[in-house]
C-alpha cells in the first residue's frame, strides 16, 4: 500500500514512479495506491500509473479514495477501467 499526499503533477510524478517501481522490484504485484490525500493529479502522473500498471502481471493497480478532481481526470481520459477503484484501503485489501 502506497500513500500519496499533496499534488501529483509534472514535478512529483518522477517520485511517484520511483516509489511504485521500487515496490514492484521488491516483488509486489498487487499495488494499492491511497489517493485520499491527493487533491490534484495531472496527465503526467496518470501516465506514470498506466506505465507501472502495464508492468504488473495480470493485476490492476487499486486506487483508493479518489477526490473529485482525480476522478474527473480518470473519467476524461477514459482510463477508469484501467484501474480498480475503492473507497478505502480496507475495501481494496478485501477486509
Amino acid at each position: 500500500v502506497l500513500v500519496a499526499e499533496g499534488e501529483l503533477d509534472l514535478a512529483s510524478a518522477p517520485g511517484l514512479k520511483w516509489s511504485m517501481l521500487e515496490a514492484v522490484r521488491t516483488g509486489c504485484q498487487e499495488l494499492v495506491l491511497d489517493l485520499s490525500k491527493v487533491d490534484f493529479m495531472d496527465s503526467t502522473a496518470l501516465g506514470v500509473l498506466v506505465a507501472v500498471g502495464r508492468g504488473l502481471e495480470g493485476h490492476r493497480i487499486a486506487l483508493v479514495g479518489l477526490q473529485p478532481d482525480v476522478r474527473r481526470l480518470l473519467a476524461i481520459t477514459g482510463l477508469e477501467d484501467s484501474f480498480a477503484t475503492f473507497g478505502t484501503v480496507d475495501e481494496a485489501l478485501g477486509r
Binding site: 481520459t77 477514459g78 482510463l79 484501467s82
Partner: protein, 646 residues
C-alpha cells in the same frame, strides 16, 4: 631593522601591509617581480625590474645590481623605457658622488650589463642617451653620460653605445654636446629644491623615495651609505621623495632640481614600502608569502576561468531555449483570422521555465467548407516532445483532410501512432469540425478535456466512457459528440495548462476557466483568454494553448444533438452501453429493453456504434455499423518508430 627583534604582531602588520600592497598593484608581471625579490635578499631587483616593459630576465638584473651602485645605471635605463622610479635618483646619486661612478670595477660592470641588456631596446646608458635626444628628459643622460665617459675602460662605453635599436642613431649626436657638462661636479647646486621648475621643465615627475637611497646605500657599501645619508639629511621638511628633472646643458645652475613631495600623495609609494617589508622578512616567510601570492593568483585566475565558463554556458542555455521556442513556433501554424463566418484565433504560451514543447494545435478549412480544429498536449516537454507533436498533428490533419469524422480520424491515427510514440510517450488530443452550413460542431477526444461552449450559457459536456489518450491504450477514438449551434456561440478548445495554472489559493480549475471565458470582452480571442489566465495565476507550470471559434448569430443556446460510442466486442460492450445510455439520460427500463433487443446484434458484430439522438422526444438510442472500417496496420516487422534528433 634587526630581523631577530621583530615581534609576531609586527610580522602580522607587515604581512597585512604586504597583502594590501599586492592587492593594489598586483599583476602577473608583478608576481614575477616578487619572485625576483625572493631570490634577491636586498630587494633591489624587485624595484628595478618594475620598470621593465619587455619581460627581461629579472634574475640577471638582480645579480647585476648587487655588486656596486654603478649597476643602478641599468635600473635607470630601464626606467627610461617604462616607469620613472629609480633611474633618476640613481643618476642623481652618481652625480652627487662622482667617486662612486668612476670606480673602474663598477664601470666595467656597467658596460657589461648594458651590452647584455641593450638587445634591441637600449637598456642602460644608451637608453639614457635616447631619452635625451627625445626631448627635455635629458637630465638622466646628462648625468649618466659623464659617469660613463669617465670610465677608464672604454669597452663598457662602446658596448653601451653600440646597442642596436632605436637608441643608436639619435642618442649619440645629442648626447655628445651634453657630455662635457660636469653635472657630477656640482652636487650642491643640484640639490636645490624648486618645485616650480620641476613642473615647468619636466614632462612628468620622476619620483624616487629616500628609503630607496637608504637601502641602496646600505647594500652598496659604507661610502655610498654615507653619501646618501648626507644628501637625505639636508633640510627638506616632510620629504622622503626626491625628483630630478631635466635641465639644459648650458645652464649649470638649473641642472638638478629636487622636488619634495608628501609620500601619501604619490601612488608608487606603495612599492618602496613593499620592498622595504620584503627586505626585512626572513627567507622562509618570504617563500611562504610568495607561495601564498602565487596561490591567490592561481585561484583568481581559476575563478575568472570559471566565471567565463559559466557565462558561456548561460549563453548556450539561452540559445537552446530560443531554439526550442523557434522550433515550437515553427510547429504552431499561422491561422487565418477568419474562416467563412467564423472568427478563428489561436494562442500559445510556453510554460514558465524550460518546459516548452508539449502543446500543439492546428485550425484549417476543409474542402467541403468545414473548419477543422486539432489541439493536443503531448506528455513530456522540451525538444524531445517536438518531433512527436509534429507527427501527431500532421497525422490527424491528414485523416481529417481525407474526409474522416473526428472520431474515426482519431481512431485511425491511434492505430498508427501507438507504435510511433512508444511506451513512454502519449498525447491527449481533441479534434473538432464545424460546419457553417448546418451550424453543427462535431468533436471527438482522446483523453482530452471537451471544448468549452458558451452560447450564451455554457454547455455541460458528458464525460462518460471517454476515449483514452493516444499511446496509452490500443483503442481510442470511440466517442464523438455533435452539438447544434443555432445562434451565437464561442467554442474554445484549450489544453489543461489553463485549468491547471496556479493561483494564489489553488488552481484555476474548469469552473474558473469557464468564468474567465465568459468574462472576456466581446470579440476577444484566444490570446486574450491566455492573458487573462496568466494575469490571475501565480505560476504557469505547463504550456497553455487555445483555439477559439467565435460564431456569429442570434443569442440561442447550443444543444447536444448526438452522442455516440463505438463498442468493441472485447471491451464488455453490454456494460459500456448501459453506462453510456444511463449517462445520456435514457430511462433504465428503456435501457434494459434496448440492450435485450440488441444482444444478438452485439454478439455477432466486432464493432458497433451506439448512437443517442437528443430530440423533442428525449434521447433515442440506435445501433448501427461503423461508417468507415478502422484501418488495422499490419504488425510491425521492423522498427519503424520515429527517431528524430534535434
Amino acid at each position: 631593522l634587526p630581523r631577530s627583534g621583530l615581534s609576531t604582531r609586527r610580522w602580522g602588520a607587515e604581512a597585512l601591509r604586504l597583502a594590501r600592497a599586492v592587492a593594489l598593484s598586483c599583476g602577473v608581471a608583478f608576481s614575477l617581480n616578487l619572485g625576483v625579490a625572493l631570490a634577491d635578499p636586498g630587494g633591489q631587483g624587485n624595484h628595478g625590474n618594475h620598470g621593465n616593459p619587455h619581460g627581461m630576465p629579472a634574475t640577471s638584473q638582480a645579480g647585476n645590481q648587487a655588486p656596486a651602485p654603478g649597476n643602478d645605471q641599468n635600473t635607470g635605463g630601464q626606467n627610461a623605457g617604462g616607469q620613472n622610479v629609480a633611474g633618476q635618483n640613481v643618476a642623481d646619486q652618481n652625480a652627487t658622488l662622482p667617486t662612486t661612478a668612476t670606480a673602474p670595477d663598477q664601470a666595467a660592470s656597467t658596460g657589461v650589463q648594458t651590452s647584455q641588456h641593450g638587445n634591441g631596446h637600449a637598456y642602460g646608458l644608451t637608453k639614457h642617451a635616447q631619452d635625451e635626444g627625445n626631448g627635455p628628459r635629458a637630465t638622466s643622460s646628462q648625468v649618466a653620460q659623464p659617469a660613463a665617459t669617465q670610465l677608464p675602460d672604454a669597452g663598457g662605453t662602446l658596448s653601451s653605445s653600440s646597442a642596436p635599436g632605436t637608441a643608436a642613431p639619435t642618442a649619440t649626436p645629442i648626447a655628445a654636446p651634453s657630455s662635457p657638462t660636469p653635472s657630477g661636479s656640482k652636487p650642491a647646486k643640484a640639490k636645490r629644491p624648486t618645485r616650480r621648475h620641476a613642473r615647468h621643465r619636466a614632462p612628468g615627475p620622476r619620483v624616487v623615495t629616500g628609503s630607496d637611497a637608504v637601502r641602496r646605500a646600505r647594500r652598496a657599501g659604507p661610502r655610498a651609505a654615507r653619501a646618501t645619508v648626507t644628501s637625505s639629511s639636508r633640510p627638506a621638511p616632510g620629504s622622503s621623495f626626491r625628483t630630478r628633472h631635466a635641465a639644459p646643458a648650458p645652464a649649470p645652475a638649473r641642472l638638478p632640481i629636487i622636488v619634495h613631495r608628501r609620500p601619501e600623495s604619490s601612488a608608487p609609494a606603495i612599492l618602496p614600502t613593499l620592498t622595504k617589508i620584503i627586505g626585512v622578512v626572513p627567507l622562509p616567510i618570504r617563500v611562504a608569502m610568495g607561495v601564498l601570492v602565487a596561490l591567490a593568483l592561481g585561484l583568481g585566475a581559476s575563478s575568472r576561468l570559471t566565471a567565463l565558463r559559466a557565462g558561456r554556458l548561460e549563453r548556450q542555455r539561452r540559445q537552446l531555449l530560443e531554439d526550442v521556442g523557434l522550433l515550437q513556433a515553427a510547429l504552431l501554424p499561422v491561422v487565418p483570422r477568419r474562416l467563412g463566418q467564423v472568427a478563428t484565433s489561436v494562442a500559445y504560451r510556453p510554460a514558465d521555465g524550460p518546459g516548452a514543447g508539449g502543446d500543439f494545435y492546428d485550425v484549417f478549412a476543409l474542402d467541403d467548407g468545414r473548419i477543422a480544429v486539432i489541439l493536443g498536449d503531448l506528455s513530456g516537454h522540451g525538444r524531445h516532445a517536438l518531433p512527436h507533436t509534429a507527427l501527431v498533428r500532421f497525422t490527424l490533419r491528414a485523416y481529417l483532410e481525407s474526409g474522416l469524422s473526428p472520431r474515426t480520424a482519431l481512431q485511425n491515427a491511434a492505430a498508427v501512432l501507438e507504435r510511433q510514440l512508444g511506451e513512454s510517450s502519449f498525447a491527449t488530443v481533441i479534434v473538432g469540425t464545424y460546419d457553417p452550413g448546418s451550424r453543427r460542431l462535431v468533436y471527438a477526444s482522446a483523453g482530452h478535456s471537451p471544448p468549452l461552449i458558451l452560447s450564451p450559457l455554457s454547455l455541460n459536456a458528458m464525460t462518460v466512457c471517454c476515449s483514452p489518450p493516444l499511446g496509452l491504450a490500443p483503442r481510442t477514438g470511440t466517442r464523438q459528440t455533435t452539438v447544434a449551434l443555432p445562434g451565437s456561440a464561442v467554442v474554445c478548445f484549450c489544453t489543461d495548462g489553463l485549468a491547471e495554472a496556479r493561483t494564489g489559493t489553488g488552481r484555476v480549475g474548469m469552473d474558473g476557466l469557464e468564468r474567465t471565458l465568459a468574462e472576456l470582452a466581446p470579440g476577444a480571442g484566444a490570446q486574450d483568454l491566455l492573458d487573462a489566465i496568466a494575469s490571475r495565476s501565480r505560476e504557469c507550470s505547463d504550456d497553455m494553448a487555445a483555439c477559439m471559434l467565435r460564431i456569429d448569430g442570434r443569442p440561442m443556446q447550443a444543444v447536444v444533438m448526438v452522442e455516440e460510442i463505438e463498442l468493441h466486442c472485447d471491451e464488455a460492450p453490454a456494460e459500456r452501453a448501459r453506462r453510456f445510455l444511463d449517462a445520456c439520460g435514457v430511462p433504465s427500463a428503456q435501457i434494459d429493453e434496448f440492450l435485450s433487443a440488441a444482444a444478438e446484434t452485439m454478439a455477432g458484430a466486432r464493432d458497433l456504434v451506439l448512437e443517442v439522438t437528443f430530440g423533442p422526444d428525449g434521447p433515442q438510442p440506435k445501433l448501427r455499423r461503423p461508417d468507415v472500417p478502422v484501418l488495422h496496420p499490419p504488425p510491425a516487422r521492423g522498427a519503424t518508430r520515429l527517431e528524430v534528433a534535434i
